[in-house]
Symmetry: C2
Subunit: 205 residues, 2 copies
Amino acid sequence: MKINLQAIQAFEKRYRTAFINSLTGFKSLNLVGTISESGQENLAVFSQIFHLGAQPPLIGMIVRPHSTARHTLENILETGYYTLNHVTASTYQQAHQTSARYDREQSEFEQAGFQPHYETEFKAPFVAESPVRIGMKLEETTTLAINNTVLVIGSIQLVLIDNEGFIQQDGFIDLEQAGSLTSSGLDSYHTTTRLARLPYAKPKP
Amino acid sequence: MKINLQAIQAFEKRYRTAFINSLTGFKSLNLVGTISESGQENLAVFSQIFHLGAQPPLIGMIVRPHSTARHTLENILETGYYTLNHVTASTYQQAHQTSARYDREQSEFEQAGFQPHYETEFKAPFVAESPVRIGMKLEETTTLAINNTVLVIGSIQLVLIDNEGFIQQDGFIDLEQAGSLTSSGLDSYHTTTRLARLPYAKPKP
């Protein structure tokens, strides 16, 4: 079936949101951990997260400033630090719960049942229950004029991996073995099954 | 195990690239279809693709200008149009092959064995073999000063879905039923298994 822009614009608002959010494919599911200058912890589930470069090691993230993610952004701007934490089959229901509209003085760690974990000399809280955790330093934020979302660019400072065995000989992290999930749309959570890792592609003779 | 920035920077280059590319989690795997003003078709596999907003319907994409994706970017800038096409278990090996360094006058449709499909009044080629296809119009490109990657923002113009049944009652597209894959790192391809769709989260009383 063919759906053009006029048809999409005529969709009922929630229907359109569900439709458009599913379109891009499976997403990078992470819990973003932050703390305010005054010490209030915050945790929020994000899926608009993407690799931006390996040298320097950078990750991009899209924040909608009027969503529940607003507290996350405020904390990142206040302290300059945040964490990304993978979600597993045993934590995705709690992770989803962090998307509820809590007040800023409520900690989603507490409300959703996660344990904050701190590393020496790293300001933002990690999620103790997560097998792959990344400590991020804010590099820059850019408000995209086209729809007022905020592009947050951070550099990787610290990586915590539960088990050294998740890292293969060539540096590839086996996320499936780590138990990391992927998400689709706004509310669908998935495990994965590897088909293959393929060798570096070369033009065929 | 704990890996800090110094340790990451000391990694051998290819090891670091594999490591950092795996860190963000599972990715949105798409084939990007383009054509040059002179009619040369191009197809390239991308995974740095993300939902940017539903109203207007926008998708973001990161292009490394010195990669094989350069032809894709040149074509997008020339014509203002491109397509995103999901990859399935029966096409991922061909999709991976599009990442080989072909000359601009070689079509990856031909080299990797995909059939271009055109829609009336839409300039860029779709992938006939793909179950979910999106016709995109370029809205803006921004070179990110931090590492010279290019953020390409496009608006959704047209959606082609093989089977109406993939779309659920609330607008959610069941990508698993469509057969869309996800990827991790630079070369790992995965099917998915849904754990659940969860209801809209509310603070618990």
